[in-house]
Protein backbone atom coordinates (compact mmCIF):
# COMPACT_ATOMS: atom_id res chain seq x y z
CA UNK A 1 0.00 0.00 0.00
CA UNK A 2 2.90 2.37 0.70
CA UNK A 3 6.00 1.79 -1.36
CA UNK A 4 9.26 3.76 -1.53
CA UNK A 5 11.39 2.87 -4.57
CA UNK A 6 14.98 4.08 -4.22
CA UNK A 7 13.83 7.44 -2.83
CA UNK A 8 16.32 10.22 -2.20
CA UNK A 9 15.47 13.75 -1.17
CA UNK A 10 17.63 16.85 -1.14
CA UNK A 11 16.52 20.05 0.60
CA UNK A 12 16.79 23.40 -1.21
CA UNK A 13 19.90 24.20 0.84
CA UNK A 14 21.63 21.13 -0.61
CA UNK A 15 21.34 18.92 2.48
CA UNK A 16 20.63 15.29 1.56
CA UNK A 17 17.78 14.29 3.91
CA UNK A 18 16.94 10.83 2.47
CA UNK A 19 19.29 8.46 0.68
CA UNK A 20 18.11 5.49 -1.38
CA UNK A 21 15.09 4.54 0.72
CA UNK A 22 13.38 1.27 -0.25
CA UNK A 23 10.39 0.45 1.89
CA UNK A 24 7.06 -1.34 1.78
CA UNK A 25 4.32 -0.82 4.37
CA UNK A 26 1.36 -3.17 4.03
CA UNK A 27 -2.27 -2.58 5.02
CA UNK A 28 -3.38 -2.86 8.64
CA UNK A 29 0.09 -2.81 10.20
CA UNK A 30 1.76 -0.72 12.86
CA UNK A 31 5.15 0.75 11.98
CA UNK A 32 7.36 2.87 14.21
CA UNK A 33 10.12 5.10 12.90
CA UNK A 34 12.84 5.97 15.39
CA UNK A 35 16.18 7.72 15.22
CA UNK A 36 18.06 10.83 16.28
CA UNK A 37 16.89 14.38 15.50
CA UNK A 38 17.71 15.13 11.87
CA UNK A 39 17.84 11.44 10.90
CA UNK A 40 15.14 11.99 8.24
CA UNK A 41 12.08 10.52 10.00
CA UNK A 42 9.72 13.45 9.44
CA UNK A 43 11.06 14.00 5.91
CA UNK A 44 10.25 10.36 5.13
CA UNK A 45 6.63 10.53 6.31
CA UNK A 46 6.03 13.87 4.56
CA UNK A 47 6.59 12.00 1.30
CA UNK A 48 3.58 9.78 1.98
CA UNK A 49 0.98 12.53 1.60
CA UNK A 50 2.91 14.44 -1.05
CA UNK A 51 4.04 17.38 1.09
CA UNK A 52 7.50 16.52 -0.18
CA UNK A 53 8.24 14.97 -3.56
CA UNK A 54 11.28 12.75 -4.05
CA UNK A 55 14.35 14.25 -5.74
CA UNK A 56 15.01 10.74 -7.04
CA UNK A 57 12.92 7.55 -7.08
CA UNK A 58 9.19 7.35 -6.45
CA UNK A 59 6.65 6.89 -3.69
CA UNK A 60 3.50 4.90 -4.39
CA UNK A 61 0.44 5.13 -2.14
CA UNK A 62 -2.31 2.63 -3.01
CA UNK A 63 -0.40 2.12 -6.26
CA UNK A 64 -0.53 5.80 -7.23
CA UNK A 65 2.60 7.89 -7.72
CA UNK A 66 2.56 10.77 -5.20
CA UNK A 67 4.21 13.07 -7.76
CA UNK A 68 1.03 12.93 -9.84
CA UNK A 69 -1.40 13.58 -6.96
CA UNK A 70 -2.27 16.76 -5.05
CA UNK A 71 -1.62 16.91 -1.30
CA UNK A 72 -5.36 17.40 -0.75
CA UNK A 73 -6.22 14.22 -2.67
CA UNK A 74 -3.58 12.14 -0.91
CA UNK A 75 -4.56 13.56 2.49
CA UNK A 76 -8.04 12.07 2.13
CA UNK A 77 -6.32 8.66 2.47
CA UNK A 78 -3.27 9.69 4.52
CA UNK A 79 -3.87 11.66 7.70
CA UNK A 80 -0.86 13.23 9.42
CA UNK A 81 -1.08 14.48 13.00
CA UNK A 82 1.78 16.94 13.28
CA UNK A 83 3.91 17.37 16.35
CA UNK A 84 3.02 20.96 17.25
CA UNK A 85 -0.71 21.64 17.79
CA UNK A 86 -0.08 25.39 17.65
CA UNK A 87 0.75 24.99 13.97
CA UNK A 88 -2.68 23.61 13.17
CA UNK A 89 -5.39 25.23 15.27
CA UNK A 90 -7.04 28.42 14.04
CA UNK A 91 -10.85 28.15 14.22
CA UNK A 92 -13.11 30.02 16.64
CA UNK A 93 -14.45 26.84 18.25
CA UNK A 94 -13.35 23.23 18.75
CA UNK A 95 -16.36 22.13 16.69
CA UNK A 96 -15.37 24.28 13.70
CA UNK A 97 -11.78 23.12 14.01
CA UNK A 98 -12.87 19.50 13.56
CA UNK A 99 -15.28 20.41 10.76
CA UNK A 100 -12.54 22.22 8.78
CA UNK A 101 -11.07 19.07 7.20
CA UNK A 102 -14.49 17.45 6.70
CA UNK A 103 -15.68 20.50 4.74
CA UNK A 104 -12.48 20.67 2.69
CA UNK A 105 -12.99 17.07 1.59
CA UNK A 106 -16.62 17.74 0.67
CA UNK A 107 -18.05 15.20 3.10
CA UNK A 108 -21.87 15.21 3.21
CA UNK A 109 -23.61 17.09 6.04
CA UNK A 110 -25.08 14.01 7.74
CA UNK A 111 -21.71 12.24 7.76
CA UNK A 112 -20.02 15.46 8.92
CA UNK A 113 -22.36 15.63 11.92
CA UNK A 114 -21.82 11.93 12.79
CA UNK A 115 -18.05 12.12 12.46
CA UNK A 116 -17.95 15.34 14.51
CA UNK A 117 -19.94 13.76 17.36
CA UNK A 118 -17.77 10.63 17.24
CA UNK A 119 -14.54 12.64 17.37
CA UNK A 120 -15.73 14.89 20.21
CA UNK A 121 -16.83 11.86 22.21
CA UNK A 122 -13.82 9.66 21.47
CA UNK A 123 -11.30 12.34 22.41
CA UNK A 124 -13.25 13.56 25.42
CA UNK A 125 -13.74 17.04 23.95
CA UNK A 126 -17.55 17.33 24.01
CA UNK A 127 -17.58 19.84 26.85
CA UNK A 128 -15.23 22.12 24.86
CA UNK A 129 -17.16 22.06 21.59
CA UNK A 130 -17.93 25.80 21.71
CA UNK A 131 -14.65 26.82 23.31
CA UNK A 132 -11.80 28.43 21.35
CA UNK A 133 -9.01 25.90 20.63
CA UNK A 134 -6.51 28.55 21.77
CA UNK A 135 -7.87 28.30 25.31
CA UNK A 136 -7.26 24.54 25.66
CA UNK A 137 -4.32 23.08 27.59
CA UNK A 138 -1.37 21.51 25.73
CA UNK A 139 -2.72 17.97 26.15
CA UNK A 140 -6.22 18.98 25.07
CA UNK A 141 -4.86 20.72 21.98
CA UNK A 142 -2.99 17.54 21.06
CA UNK A 143 -6.19 15.51 21.45
CA UNK A 144 -8.02 18.02 19.29
CA UNK A 145 -5.39 17.54 16.57
CA UNK A 146 -6.00 13.79 16.66
CA UNK A 147 -9.75 14.43 16.47
CA UNK A 148 -9.35 16.80 13.50
CA UNK A 149 -7.53 14.16 11.44
CA UNK A 150 -9.39 11.02 12.54
CA UNK A 151 -12.72 12.73 11.90
CA UNK A 152 -12.43 12.08 8.15
CA UNK A 153 -11.41 8.48 8.74
CA UNK A 154 -8.23 8.20 6.64
CA UNK A 155 -6.94 4.73 5.75
CA UNK A 156 -3.41 5.55 6.81
CA UNK A 157 -2.66 7.51 9.97
CA UNK A 158 0.75 9.02 10.61
CA UNK A 159 1.45 10.27 14.12
CA UNK A 160 4.46 12.58 14.49
CA UNK A 161 5.63 12.47 18.13
CA UNK A 162 2.15 11.70 19.50
CA UNK A 163 3.20 11.50 23.15
CA UNK A 164 4.90 14.90 23.49
CA UNK A 165 3.27 16.81 26.36
CA UNK A 166 0.97 13.92 27.32
CA UNK A 167 0.75 12.50 30.83
CA UNK A 168 0.80 8.76 31.51
CA UNK A 169 -2.98 8.37 31.39
CA UNK A 170 -3.21 10.14 28.03
CA UNK A 171 -0.37 8.03 26.63
CA UNK A 172 -2.33 4.92 27.56
CA UNK A 173 -5.36 6.39 25.78
CA UNK A 174 -3.25 6.96 22.67
CA UNK A 175 -2.10 3.32 22.85
CA UNK A 176 -5.74 2.23 23.08
CA UNK A 177 -6.65 4.47 20.16
CA UNK A 178 -3.88 2.90 18.06
CA UNK A 179 -5.07 -0.62 18.96
CA UNK A 180 -8.62 0.43 18.07
CA UNK A 181 -7.52 1.80 14.70
CA UNK A 182 -5.62 -1.38 13.90
CA UNK A 183 -8.73 -3.38 14.74
CA UNK A 184 -10.65 -1.22 12.26
CA UNK A 185 -8.15 -2.25 9.56
CA UNK A 186 -6.19 1.02 9.47
CA UNK A 187 -2.47 1.39 8.85
CA UNK A 188 -0.63 3.35 11.52
CA UNK A 189 2.84 4.87 11.32
CA UNK A 190 4.35 6.46 14.42
CA UNK A 191 7.39 8.74 14.42
CA UNK A 192 8.65 8.90 17.97
CA UNK A 193 11.57 9.23 20.36
CA UNK A 194 9.46 7.66 23.10
CA UNK A 195 10.77 4.08 23.01
CA UNK A 196 9.02 3.16 26.30
CA UNK A 197 5.69 4.11 24.72
CA UNK A 198 6.40 2.06 21.59
CA UNK A 199 7.62 -1.09 23.36
CA UNK A 200 4.23 -2.51 24.57
CA UNK A 201 2.79 -1.89 21.07
CA UNK A 202 5.45 -4.19 19.58
CA UNK A 203 5.52 -2.45 16.19
CA UNK A 204 7.62 -3.17 13.15
CA UNK A 205 10.46 -0.74 13.77
CA UNK A 206 12.50 1.25 11.28
CA UNK A 207 15.64 2.85 12.65
CA UNK A 208 16.91 5.85 10.71
CA UNK A 209 20.31 7.53 10.77
CA UNK A 210 21.65 10.18 8.39
CA UNK A 211 18.78 9.78 5.93
CA UNK A 212 19.01 6.00 5.67
CA UNK A 213 17.08 3.11 7.16
CA UNK A 214 19.76 1.25 9.08
CA UNK A 215 17.50 -1.41 10.63
CA UNK A 216 14.03 -2.78 9.92
CA UNK A 217 12.22 -5.49 11.84
CA UNK A 218 10.46 -6.40 15.05
CA UNK A 219 11.19 -3.87 17.82
CA UNK A 220 12.83 -6.44 20.12
CA UNK A 221 15.03 -7.76 17.34
CA UNK A 222 16.07 -4.30 16.10
CA UNK A 223 16.76 -2.80 19.51
CA UNK A 224 18.72 -5.83 20.67
CA UNK A 225 21.40 -4.98 18.12
CA UNK A 226 24.19 -3.04 19.86
CA UNK A 227 25.52 -1.50 16.65
CA UNK A 228 22.05 -0.11 15.78
CA UNK A 229 21.63 1.33 19.28
CA UNK A 230 25.04 3.00 19.01
CA UNK A 231 24.66 4.29 15.46
CA UNK A 232 21.20 5.78 16.03
CA UNK A 233 22.03 6.95 19.57
CA UNK A 234 19.01 5.16 21.05
CA UNK A 235 18.26 3.92 24.56
CA UNK A 236 16.73 0.47 24.98
CA UNK A 237 13.34 0.14 26.70
CA UNK A 238 13.84 -0.94 30.31
CA UNK A 239 12.10 -4.31 29.88
CA UNK A 240 14.30 -5.18 26.92
CA UNK A 241 17.46 -4.06 28.74
CA UNK A 242 16.43 -6.23 31.71
CA UNK A 243 15.73 -9.22 29.46
CA UNK A 244 19.10 -8.86 27.74
CA UNK A 245 20.90 -8.57 31.10
CA UNK A 246 19.13 -11.67 32.44
CA UNK A 247 19.29 -13.52 29.10
CA UNK A 248 15.47 -13.89 29.03
CA UNK A 249 12.98 -13.80 26.17
CA UNK A 250 12.02 -10.07 25.94
CA UNK A 251 8.72 -9.54 27.81
CA UNK A 252 6.07 -7.25 26.25
CA UNK A 253 4.94 -5.83 29.57
CA UNK A 254 5.56 -5.90 33.33
CA UNK A 255 3.19 -8.85 33.84
CA UNK A 256 5.11 -11.01 31.36
CA UNK A 257 8.39 -9.95 32.99
CA UNK A 258 7.07 -10.89 36.45
CA UNK A 259 5.96 -14.27 35.13
CA UNK A 260 9.36 -14.92 33.57
CA UNK A 261 11.14 -13.96 36.79
CA UNK A 262 8.86 -15.96 39.09
Amino acid sequence: MIQFDDVSFMHQNGVMALRGINLKVTTNTLTAIVGENGAGKTTLVRHINGLLRPSHGKVLVFGEDTRKQSVAKLSRKVGIVFQNPDHQLFSDTVENEILFGLKNFGIQEKEQRDQLEWALEFFDLSRYRNVSPMLLSGGEKKRLCFACILAWDPDILILDEPTVGQDHGRKEKISLMIANLLQKGKTVIIVSHDIEFLWPLQPRTLVMAQGEIIADGNIAEVLSDDSVIKQANLVRPQLLALAIALKLKPPKNVEEAAKALA
Partner: protein
Protein backbone atom coordinates in the same frame (compact mmCIF):
# COMPACT_ATOMS: atom_id res chain seq x y z
CA UNK B 1 7.20 31.97 -0.51
CA UNK B 2 10.42 30.91 1.17
CA UNK B 3 12.19 31.69 -2.09
CA UNK B 4 11.05 35.34 -1.85
CA UNK B 5 11.77 35.56 1.89
CA UNK B 6 15.33 34.36 1.27
CA UNK B 7 15.88 37.68 -0.48
CA UNK B 8 15.31 39.56 2.77
CA UNK B 9 17.30 37.38 5.20
CA UNK B 10 20.92 38.01 6.22
CA UNK B 11 23.33 35.12 5.63
CA UNK B 12 26.93 34.96 6.82
CA UNK B 13 29.20 35.15 3.74
CA UNK B 14 32.89 35.97 3.60
CA UNK B 15 33.06 38.91 1.16
CA UNK B 16 34.73 42.33 0.99
CA UNK B 17 31.40 44.06 1.62
CA UNK B 18 30.36 41.74 4.49
CA UNK B 19 33.69 42.41 6.23
CA UNK B 20 33.20 46.19 6.13
CA UNK B 21 32.26 48.08 9.28
CA UNK B 22 28.46 48.33 9.49
CA UNK B 23 28.67 52.15 9.64
CA UNK B 24 30.56 52.18 6.33
CA UNK B 25 27.93 49.91 4.80
CA UNK B 26 25.27 52.32 6.04
CA UNK B 27 27.19 55.23 4.49
CA UNK B 28 27.46 53.40 1.15
CA UNK B 29 23.75 52.56 1.19
CA UNK B 30 22.81 56.14 2.06
CA UNK B 31 24.94 57.46 -0.79
CA UNK B 32 23.27 55.09 -3.23
CA UNK B 33 19.81 56.13 -1.99
CA UNK B 34 20.74 59.83 -2.40
CA UNK B 35 22.05 59.05 -5.90
CA UNK B 36 18.75 57.37 -6.79
CA UNK B 37 16.72 60.26 -5.39
CA UNK B 38 18.69 62.87 -7.31
CA UNK B 39 18.58 60.98 -10.62
CA UNK B 40 15.92 62.28 -13.00
CA UNK B 41 16.75 60.53 -16.25
CA UNK B 42 16.70 56.86 -17.22
CA UNK B 43 20.45 56.99 -17.92
CA UNK B 44 21.25 58.44 -14.47
CA UNK B 45 19.08 55.84 -12.79
CA UNK B 46 20.70 53.10 -14.83
CA UNK B 47 24.08 54.25 -13.46
CA UNK B 48 22.70 54.25 -9.87
CA UNK B 49 21.21 50.79 -10.35
CA UNK B 50 24.40 49.56 -12.04
CA UNK B 51 26.53 50.75 -9.08
CA UNK B 52 24.17 48.96 -6.69
CA UNK B 53 24.36 45.73 -8.67
CA UNK B 54 28.18 45.99 -8.88
CA UNK B 55 28.43 46.27 -5.08
CA UNK B 56 25.93 43.38 -4.71
CA UNK B 57 28.05 41.26 -7.06
CA UNK B 58 31.20 41.91 -5.02
CA UNK B 59 29.21 40.96 -1.88
CA UNK B 60 28.05 37.75 -3.61
CA UNK B 61 24.40 38.58 -2.86
CA UNK B 62 23.34 39.26 -6.45
CA UNK B 63 21.15 36.17 -6.65
CA UNK B 64 19.31 36.90 -3.40
CA UNK B 65 19.00 40.59 -4.19
CA UNK B 66 17.49 39.49 -7.51
CA UNK B 67 14.67 37.86 -5.54
CA UNK B 68 14.07 41.10 -3.60
CA UNK B 69 14.04 43.10 -6.83
CA UNK B 70 11.74 40.60 -8.51
CA UNK B 71 9.38 40.86 -5.54
CA UNK B 72 9.54 44.69 -5.74
CA UNK B 73 8.87 44.64 -9.49
CA UNK B 74 5.14 44.23 -8.77
CA UNK B 75 5.11 47.44 -6.68
CA UNK B 76 7.23 49.17 -9.31
CA UNK B 77 4.71 48.23 -12.01
CA UNK B 78 1.90 49.64 -9.81
CA UNK B 79 3.81 52.93 -9.47
CA UNK B 80 4.22 53.03 -13.26
CA UNK B 81 0.49 52.45 -13.89
CA UNK B 82 -0.63 55.01 -11.29
CA UNK B 83 1.80 57.61 -12.70
CA UNK B 84 0.43 57.07 -16.21
CA UNK B 85 -3.16 57.31 -14.90
CA UNK B 86 -2.49 60.64 -13.13
CA UNK B 87 -0.98 62.15 -16.27
CA UNK B 88 2.79 61.66 -16.15
CA UNK B 89 4.61 60.85 -19.40
CA UNK B 90 5.94 57.33 -20.04
CA UNK B 91 9.52 58.55 -19.46
CA UNK B 92 8.58 60.14 -16.10
CA UNK B 93 6.63 57.04 -15.03
CA UNK B 94 9.62 54.86 -16.00
CA UNK B 95 11.95 57.08 -13.95
CA UNK B 96 9.74 56.88 -10.85
CA UNK B 97 9.29 53.10 -11.05
CA UNK B 98 13.03 52.63 -11.73
CA UNK B 99 13.86 54.87 -8.79
CA UNK B 100 11.79 52.64 -6.52
CA UNK B 101 13.74 49.57 -7.68
CA UNK B 102 17.07 51.41 -7.22
CA UNK B 103 16.16 52.45 -3.65
CA UNK B 104 15.03 48.91 -2.74
CA UNK B 105 18.26 47.50 -4.21
CA UNK B 106 20.53 49.92 -2.37
CA UNK B 107 18.83 49.43 1.00
CA UNK B 108 18.89 45.66 0.59
CA UNK B 109 22.71 45.85 0.25
CA UNK B 110 22.80 47.04 3.87
CA UNK B 111 20.29 44.51 5.22
CA UNK B 112 21.65 41.51 3.29
CA UNK B 113 25.23 42.14 4.41
CA UNK B 114 24.68 43.31 8.00
CA UNK B 115 24.03 40.82 10.78
CA UNK B 116 21.43 41.59 13.51
CA UNK B 117 24.37 42.02 15.94
CA UNK B 118 26.00 44.65 13.72
CA UNK B 119 22.62 46.29 13.26
CA UNK B 120 22.33 46.54 17.03
CA UNK B 121 25.78 48.12 17.24
CA UNK B 122 24.90 50.70 14.59
CA UNK B 123 21.71 51.63 16.42
CA UNK B 124 23.62 51.90 19.68
CA UNK B 125 26.17 54.12 17.96
CA UNK B 126 23.30 56.44 17.03
CA UNK B 127 22.36 56.41 20.75
CA UNK B 128 18.82 55.19 20.08
CA UNK B 129 16.78 54.04 23.13
CA UNK B 130 17.73 50.53 24.25
CA UNK B 131 14.15 49.20 24.23
CA UNK B 132 13.66 50.39 20.67
CA UNK B 133 16.93 48.75 19.56
CA UNK B 134 16.02 45.50 21.28
CA UNK B 135 12.52 45.41 19.78
CA UNK B 136 13.80 46.14 16.27
CA UNK B 137 16.72 43.70 16.34
CA UNK B 138 14.54 40.95 17.81
CA UNK B 139 11.97 41.48 15.06
CA UNK B 140 14.72 41.15 12.42
CA UNK B 141 16.09 38.00 14.09
CA UNK B 142 12.65 36.41 14.13
CA UNK B 143 11.97 36.79 10.40
CA UNK B 144 13.54 33.38 9.48
CA UNK B 145 11.80 31.74 12.47
CA UNK B 146 8.42 33.08 11.37
CA UNK B 147 9.08 31.94 7.82
CA UNK B 148 9.78 28.43 9.04
CA UNK B 149 6.61 28.54 11.17
CA UNK B 150 4.59 29.69 8.16
CA UNK B 151 5.87 26.78 6.07
CA UNK B 152 5.08 24.24 8.79
CA UNK B 153 1.59 25.69 9.27
CA UNK B 154 0.99 25.56 5.52
CA UNK B 155 2.03 21.91 5.45
CA UNK B 156 -0.28 21.11 8.37
CA UNK B 157 -3.27 22.83 6.74
CA UNK B 158 -2.58 21.32 3.31
CA UNK B 159 -2.68 17.94 5.05
CA UNK B 160 -6.19 18.82 6.20
CA UNK B 161 -7.33 19.34 2.63
CA UNK B 162 -6.69 23.08 2.33
CA UNK B 163 -5.81 24.09 -1.22
CA UNK B 164 -4.19 27.48 -0.84
CA UNK B 165 -3.57 28.08 -4.54
CA UNK B 166 -7.12 27.22 -5.59
CA UNK B 167 -9.78 29.72 -6.69
CA UNK B 168 -9.83 33.39 -7.66
CA UNK B 169 -7.81 36.10 -5.91
CA UNK B 170 -10.44 36.69 -3.16
CA UNK B 171 -10.72 32.96 -2.48
CA UNK B 172 -6.92 32.69 -2.31
CA UNK B 173 -6.75 35.53 0.23
CA UNK B 174 -9.45 33.78 2.27
CA UNK B 175 -7.53 30.49 1.97
CA UNK B 176 -4.68 32.09 3.87
CA UNK B 177 -6.66 32.65 7.08
CA UNK B 178 -5.96 29.09 8.42
CA UNK B 179 -2.26 29.91 7.94
CA UNK B 180 -2.23 33.51 9.18
CA UNK B 181 -4.22 32.96 12.38
CA UNK B 182 -1.90 30.30 13.91
CA UNK B 183 1.10 32.30 12.67
CA UNK B 184 -0.01 35.49 14.42
CA UNK B 185 -1.13 33.63 17.57
CA UNK B 186 2.24 31.83 17.72
CA UNK B 187 4.11 35.11 17.26
CA UNK B 188 2.14 36.78 20.05
CA UNK B 189 2.62 33.81 22.41
CA UNK B 190 6.32 33.68 21.54
CA UNK B 191 6.75 37.40 22.18
CA UNK B 192 5.15 36.98 25.64
CA UNK B 193 7.46 34.07 26.43
CA UNK B 194 10.46 36.02 25.18
CA UNK B 195 9.54 39.01 27.38
CA UNK B 196 9.40 36.74 30.43
CA UNK B 197 12.66 35.02 29.48
CA UNK B 198 14.35 38.42 29.15
CA UNK B 199 12.98 39.58 32.49
CA UNK B 200 14.26 36.51 34.34
CA UNK B 201 17.65 37.24 32.78
CA UNK B 202 17.57 40.75 34.31
CA UNK B 203 16.64 42.76 31.22
CA UNK B 204 16.24 46.37 32.33
CA UNK B 205 17.85 45.81 35.76
CA UNK B 206 20.42 48.57 35.18
CA UNK B 207 20.02 51.76 33.18
CA UNK B 208 23.26 51.39 31.24
CA UNK B 209 24.20 47.76 30.60
CA UNK B 210 27.85 46.92 29.87
CA UNK B 211 28.93 45.65 26.44
CA UNK B 212 31.43 42.95 25.48
CA UNK B 213 32.23 44.16 21.96
CA UNK B 214 32.76 47.68 20.71
CA UNK B 215 33.04 49.25 17.27
CA UNK B 216 36.60 49.51 15.98
CA UNK B 217 37.10 50.89 12.50
CA UNK B 218 39.88 49.15 10.57
CA UNK B 219 42.08 50.93 8.03
CA UNK B 220 40.26 49.18 5.17
CA UNK B 221 36.96 50.55 6.53
CA UNK B 222 38.39 54.07 6.67
CA UNK B 223 39.72 53.78 3.11
CA UNK B 224 36.33 52.51 1.83
CA UNK B 225 34.51 55.36 3.61
CA UNK B 226 36.88 58.03 2.30
CA UNK B 227 36.77 56.60 -1.24
CA UNK B 228 32.99 56.60 -1.30
CA UNK B 229 32.82 60.20 -0.03
CA UNK B 230 35.44 61.30 -2.57
CA UNK B 231 33.36 59.74 -5.38
CA UNK B 232 30.16 61.22 -3.99
CA UNK B 233 31.41 64.86 -3.94
CA UNK B 234 31.67 65.33 -7.76
CA UNK B 235 28.44 63.36 -8.18
CA UNK B 236 26.61 65.74 -5.85
CA UNK B 237 28.25 68.72 -7.58
CA UNK B 238 26.95 67.40 -10.93
CA UNK B 239 23.40 66.94 -9.68
CA UNK B 240 23.20 70.15 -7.64
CA UNK B 241 24.99 72.62 -9.92
CA UNK B 242 25.31 71.21 -13.44
CA UNK B 243 21.90 69.59 -14.13
Amino acid sequence: MYWVAGGFIYRRIDSVVHRLDARVKLLLTSELVVLSLLSFTVAELAIALGSTLAIAASARILKRMGRTLLFSAGFSATIFIIDILVGYTIIEATVYSMRFIAIVGSTSIFFLTTSPDELEQVMRWFRLPRDLIFAYVTAVRFVPVLMLDALQIMDAQKSRGLEIEKGNILKRIKNFSPVLIPLVVNAVVRSGELAEAMEVRAYGAVKKPTMLYDFVMKNSDKIAAILSVVLMIPTLYYFLFLV
